[in-house]
């Protein structure tokens, strides 16, 4: 129990946008502050990964505090690769739990679409240990999940079609989300035939480059949405050192810690946003978080159990695959969708208004994972 509550949320459209990194950040923050009724803010945390390398822009925390007139308050940029947003939220929660702050503004933002794909791929590779022989061999971030997927196929009866079913589900969800990057429906056939990025992962199996921002206001003052648990762990930074390639221990361990803190189990979770940076990753994550047995997540996908109307709705926002993946914003955007689900006004609203929601945000190839559990009270 964190004793912290969600008071406001904001999110820009995700996609290829004209706005600068700063404008995206301020737009999402302003919406969240207005949604919260413009409370006094005691601190700011901003999740961002490549503002420095791609946009030559740092000091995002101070920019938010200054341009939004929040006063001489502490502000911090948080980097944890694709988990930057989730870690920023956790830092804000810890600030409240420590007693130092009453109310904190947490945001995440990324601007990627203006840069060349090769340059962005290079910048994303900074989320691996770049001093290793495996980086020198040419392993990429998507490549790690391609290697994982081929081994998963080898040890199970899963095929590329199961990956495609994850991508199709998340696209169907994204089509109904007005803020998602991809509004266009697709088909299993189109997904299966798409050009290869890193075998066996095709274009639709990989989260896109995205511009966007999301923000959230949390406070020790009560609201209808309590942050019941926050957890974070670090995991292996190299593929060749994985004890079991088909397990991403950071996801499993962050989930176990969050369930323990919340006094809940996977069976109690009504709606889920998980880090589907690749279709394969969603299957591993639903196993690691205990929703399905190891090496059986693909069966749950085949049986439609993770669809909006299924027993465990996963990524009702469209996930990273279709909502988009502005790296630093993703962890906050997941919580944005879950708050909407708990409020009962989400895109792809789950029937019966869910009570318990879980967000899992991954950084690197399993280097970081955060889990947040929200509860409607």
């Amino acid at each position: 129990m964190t004793g912290a509550y969600v008071h406001g949320i904001g999110m820009t459209k995700f996609g290829k946008l004209e706005s600068s990194l700063k404008e995206l950040l301020l737009e999402a923050c302003t919406e969240a502050l207005n949604d919260a009724g413009r409370p006094k803010i005691d601190a700011v945390y901003v999740g961002n990964f490549m503002g420095g390398s791609i946009s030559n822009q740092e000091i995002l925390g101070a920019i938010v505090a200054n341009d939004l007139g929040l006063g001489y308050i502490p502000s911090t940029k948080v980097e944890g690769a694709c988990a930057s947003g989730g870690i920023a939220l956790r830092q804000g929660l810890l600030g409240i739990m420590s007693g130092e702050y009453d109310t904190v503004l947490v945001a995440g933002a990324e601007k990627m679409k203006h840069a060349e794909t090769a340059d962005v791929t290079q910048a994303i590779n900074a989320a691996m240990d770049t001093t290793t022989t495996e980086k020198n061999a040419g392993l990429t971030f998507p490549g790690f999940f391609g290697v994982l997927a081929n081994r998963y196929f080898h040890e199970t009866d899963a095929t590329k079609e199961h990956l495609a079913r994850v991508a199709l589900k998340n696209r169907q969800n994204g089509v109904n989300n007005p803020l998602a990057q991809f509004p266009k429906p697709t088909t299993l056939e189109e997904i299966m035939a798409a050009r290869m990025i890193t075998d066996p992962l095709g274009l639709f199996d990989c989260s896109p480059m995205t511009d966007g921002a999301a923000a959230i206001v949390i406070s020790r003052k009560k609201s209808p949405i309590h942050v019941r648990a926050s957890s974070q762990v670090s995991g292996p930074t190299k593929m060749q050192d994985a004890v079991n390639l088909l397990s991403i221990p950071a996801i499993g361990e962050s989930g176990r810690l969050a369930y323990e803190k919340a006094g809940l189990g996977p069976e109690d979770i009504d709606v889920v946003e998980i880090h589907d940076c690749f279709s394969m990753t969603e299957i591993i994550a639903i196993e690691e978080l205990g929703f399905y047995n190891p090496l059986e997540g693909w069966k749950a996908v085949e049986e439609g159990r993770t669809q909006v109307n299924g027993e465990k709705p996963v990524n009702t926002s469209g996930g990273l695959l279709s909502r988009g993946h502005p790296i630093g914003a993703t962890g906050i955007a997941q919580v944005y969708q879950l708050v909407r689900q708990l409020r009962g006004n989400a895109a792809n609203q789950v029937d019966g208004t869910p009570r318990i929601a879980l967000a899992q945000n991954l950084g690197g190839t399993g280097s970081y994972s955060t889990v947040h559990i929200l509860e409607r009270v």
Binding site: A118, N150, R151, M239, L245
Partner: protein, 100 residues
């Protein structure tokens, strides 16, 4: 291939400390470069520094004489279970080839 071992874990890379016992002294032993393909991918979309050689295969090799794996690059296409051996070390990367 040099292997660093402690507390039952083998690795081709030396860490500062063992995650189990915390000690910084690792047992070092030399093992054969030969191994078996554990898994692989063919990378079509490469970062800027590797774009000129794409598409290329990145292969995770399970070493025959140690409980350790090596991430390597290969010019030939492979399948899981194929026997492979070290061809050369190039720009800090292990380049493997199929065992004849």
């Amino acid at each position: 291939m040099k292997i660093y071992s402690c507390c039952g874990n083998d690795s081709i890379a030396k860490k500062y400390n063992c995650a189990v016992c915390g000690k910084s002294e690792f047992e070092e032993k030399e093992v054969s470069d030969n191994g078996t393909v554990y898994s692989f991918t063919k990378i079509h979309i490469a970062p800027a520094e590797f774009a000129h050689i794409a598409p290329y295969n990145v292969v995770l090799v399970d070493l025959d004489e140690a409980d350790a794996k090596v991430t390597s690059r290969m010019e030939e296409d492979v399948a899981i279970g194929d026997k492979v051996t070290l061809d050369r070390i190039e720009d800090g990367a292990y380049i493997y080839k199929k065992a004849s």
